[in-house]
Amino acid sequence: MNSGDIAWMLAATALVMFMTPGLALFYGGLVRKKNVLATIMHSFISLGIISILWVLYGYSLAFGTDVGGFVGGLNYLGLKGVGLEAGPYSDTIPHILFAAFQLMFAIITPALITGAFAERMKFKAYLIFTIAWTTLVYFPVCHWVWGGGWLGEMGALDFAGGTVIHINSGVAALACALFLGKRLGYGTNAIAPHNVPMTVLGAGILWFGWFGFNAGSALAADESAAMALFVTQIAAGAGAVAWIIGEWLYQGKPTTLGAASGAVAGLVGITPAAGFVGPMGALVIGIGAGIICYFAVVAKNRLGYDDALDVVGIHGIGGLWGALATGLFATAAIGGVDGLFYGNPAQFGVQALGAVVTIIFSFGVTAAILKVIDLTVGLRATPEEENMGLDLSEHSEVGYTW
């Protein structure tokens, strides 16, 4: 045990927890006034649902004794044997603290997907989806990379969850957007954000919490954590600047929402690479994330699928860029592994393989879950409910009384 490591990981766990209410505000500001609470609820209640799953069986499926490289065993059901002693994943912090830190990642990942089906999913369907998706997609993929599964064994680098969290949720979001269809009036009526300041505040909270997300993924108060924290800042800042330059050149105005979106894109991009790249690598990853994600979002507007809050464009595409860029810019001097630009092209191949398998698995299982829910309880709110707004139809309350 190391009290420095324990102290930092306690703080980092709380920082990552704070990201989910930050996401709630980030998303809440982007929807119309009549759906602000329903959208916030999608993120916020994930803090409850996933905590319960995690204790009962989630931690075990993700981090239990490996079963065929695919999923964790049932040896940690009910967190049996996960206690004050160090666990298999870190010698210097209590096993229960590792479980708490990882729980916060499991909470935010399904919450990220909710941006794709915002403003039209029934709350009951959302609950079933979140439980099923976290169980059947998140826990296994988390195991593949971090729990002793096949991707981690193969040497795929994913410091803080570019593949596990961002590609995974982004691809699931694409399946949701395609499966649920467009919001009523999409493409004909103006469906604009109702509170951009709320969204910018949410982005700021995400940025702040991301220091725990990335630097905490070192699982120690060490040199790797310091570099991870620094490159997180660089990529976020570069992403914000790159996005507004992109839209300034392409559409004539730099927007506040663009700055917030670009910062998040930069943070997504650096997530797998933090701990493996240096500041210059982070700069390129951040700029790339800002530009690529901006054009991915513009492309969505042309392609016409209604990924309401751009989960695909920012988390899916940004996560993919980050996973691949890690294979380019990783350097042994920082994380012990070289990428393509440091003479190790094989690493790029491993990164790409991990991304492709995750994309196929996540899309397929997500589509199956959606199909089953659609055939049983139904996914979409009725047109009357959608017009009224989900705050009233699903929760019998309103966000604003004026």
Binding site: A190, A192, P193, E247, Q251, T255, V297, N301
Partner: protein
């Protein structure tokens, strides 16, 4: 009695109110409204998606007057709300059948 209803640019409200105060108009009701006439709306961009917002924010004043005051008030509004550019607004004058002060029950011009 007449009702003067003026739709003006929001930033001109203080000028109009001051000018009306100076000529002795003692009360008015205003509301924030949106609408369009010849003035075009504006463009908003959110994450690359462009929206044309047709309805332009305006302020609507409603003033109830004795017939004798109407022409003077209309002139003052036209002068004080004018910028010379499209979108300065419109004024409507309509007859009012009855005015009642709730507190006292007074009716007619005494209640204005």
């Amino acid at each position: 009695m007449k009702k003067v209803e003026a739709i003006i640019k929001p930033f001109k409200l203080d000028d109009v109110k001051q000018a009306l105060n100076e000529m002795g108009v003692t009360g008015m009701t205003i509301s924030e409204v949106k609408g369009y006439g010849r003035q075009k709306g504006h463009k908003e961009i959110y994450r690359g998606a462009e929206y044309v917002v047709d309805f332009v924010p305006k302020v609507k004043l409603e003033i109830i007057l004795d017939d004798s005051q109407v022409d003077g008030v209309v002139d003052v509004i036209v002068k004080s709300a004018n910028t010379g550019r499209i979108g300065d607004g419109k004024i409507f004058v309509t007859p009012v059948e009855q005015v009642i002060r709730v507190r006292t029950g007074e009716r007619g011009t005494d209640a204005i």
